[in-house]
Amino acid sequence: MQEFSSSFGLAFNLLISFDADLLEIIGLSLRVSLIAVVIAAIIGFPLGASIAVMRFPGRQVVDILLNALMGLPPVVVGLLVYMMISRAGPLGWLNILYSPTAMIIAQIILIVPIVAALTRQLIEDLHREYDEQFRSLCLPMSRVIPALIWDARYSLLTVVLAGFGRAIAEVGAVIIVGGNINHLTRMMTTSIALETSKGNLALALALGLVLLLLSLSINAAVYALRASAKHLAYA
């Protein structure tokens, strides 16, 4: 297996040459996954926090359901979204199949459960600490939930990263609804799948290394952002 060593060389060459196609693919991967994770956070934070704070019948069922949905197979999500937005499907008139929008929708469905379930856990723990205080102030839920989310904001960044990690690494759903179209819907993961199927194993692994590096930089950036923000907050 000389592929390993040649992969590192290839990955290095790809990076230093600023290959236009590669940059386009990286750009699309980032764009799709970041938009998906931002929207998933907008939905998932309040959803998870509400389940954590509110008491209603069937709450446990919702909880179990949410946790189970964290394990949604991407292919199934891809298929569901495809059947919805296919021109023959109920949402066919939107005309968004084989577009970045379709991939964003699939990824949102995949990561909302992750964001919501992890948020639920975080907020529940936090709520226990503040519960009495909130009660004594007689605050309505509409005030409690935003306050808790704001207070947990640094921990919630980790939740966002977990969602982002799933989104950027995912291939099963986006290849179905995006179609892996060159210069339109080709992403890092779908390129890796394509090169593997062409037998270009070294190139596929090199792209994988680039993806790993990308993930690493984003995690490091968020870590730095969080550290400096915390520093400012407590200074």
Binding site: G92, N180, L184, N200
Partner: protein, 268 residues
């Protein structure tokens, strides 16, 4: 500050480049895409006509299914019987021959079933079945898979009863199946275009080829605009006319990889 940074990033990401001008979706088999033919042809087509082609490369079975759902404007695949059914059932308008090449049997140089000097595909399959040598099937309802099944039928054999023993169905694309075959030292049937462009051949060889039963015809057709009112009929027509024209056909004949011609134009 933090909030603004996020907002900025978000807005930056939302700005969509968008697709300007005319375009069409080509539902295609994988071999024509993976072999680099489209990378060669389509920029020339786009220059001639200003129509952008978005290729969705999946197996023939899936490409036909997608086209039946109106998720494409043009279909370019290689399973004549299925294509004719597609037309007969009203999903497509008219089918044209575009080009051909052939299927080949590849396998390890040791050739355990001893098919190397055979002339006929059916004979090769019989030997593989007799010796119970491992044979990798696509098992994905693709054009190549349909062809392979028809050859087994022609040989009077039913390999599916041996599924999981010496007959192994990967359920994946041609390249993925070849990757498995190479690892398992197994036989596989592939179109010649995919094989020549395949990057992980290791020491595998073409062991059987040249039988007229291994003929591989590619066809092109437009999705029926009466069923799919949102399709891009004009662009689809432009594409089909172009690929069947002398220019398109000549370019197909010109395309070479590693000094070999991959596809032979035969539009009437």
């Amino acid at each position: 500050m933090l909030k603004h940074t996020f907002l900025m990033i978000f807005l930056l990401l939302m700005t969509d480049s968008g697709i300007a001008g005319k375009s069409l979706i080509l539902q295609s088999t994988t071999s024509t895409a993976n072999s680099g033919l489209y990378d060669y042809l389509l920029p020339l087509f786009e220059k001639d006509t200003r129509v952008k082609v978005n290729v969705v490369a999946v197996g023939t079975g899936q490409a036909i299914k997608n086209a039946q759902n109106c998720d494409g404007d043009v279909l370019l695949v290689h399973a004549k019987a299925a294509e004719e059914k597609f037309i007969a059932e009203g999903y497509g308008v008219e089918r044209f021959d575009v080009m051909y090449n052939d299927f080949i049997f590849v396998g390890p140089p040791g050739d355990p079933a001893n098919i190397r000097n055979l002339r006929q595909a059916v004979g090769g399959l019989k030997k593989i079945a007799e010796s119970e040598s491992i044979f990798l099937s696509r098992g994905d309802n693709s054009g190549t898979h349909k062809k392979e099944l028809s050859l087994w039928k022609y040989a009077g054999l039913d390999p599916v009863v041996a599924s999981g023993t010496w007959y192994r169905e990967t359920g994946s694309g041609m390249g993925a199946t070849l990757n498995v075959a190479v690892e398992m030292n197994a036989y596989a049937m592939t179109d010649r275009g995919t094989w020549i462009s395949f990057g992980n051949r290791q020491d595998f060889e073409i062991l059987l080829s040249g039988d007229k039963d291994l003929f591989n015809q590619y066809g092109v057709m437009m999705v029926n605009p009466e069923r799919c009112d949102k399709m891009n009929m004009q662009s689809a027509k432009t594409f089909i006319d172009w690929i069947l024209s002398d220019k398109g056909q000549g370019l197909i004949a010109n395309y070479q990889l590693q000094g070999q011609q991959l596809f032979f134009p035969n539009a009437k």
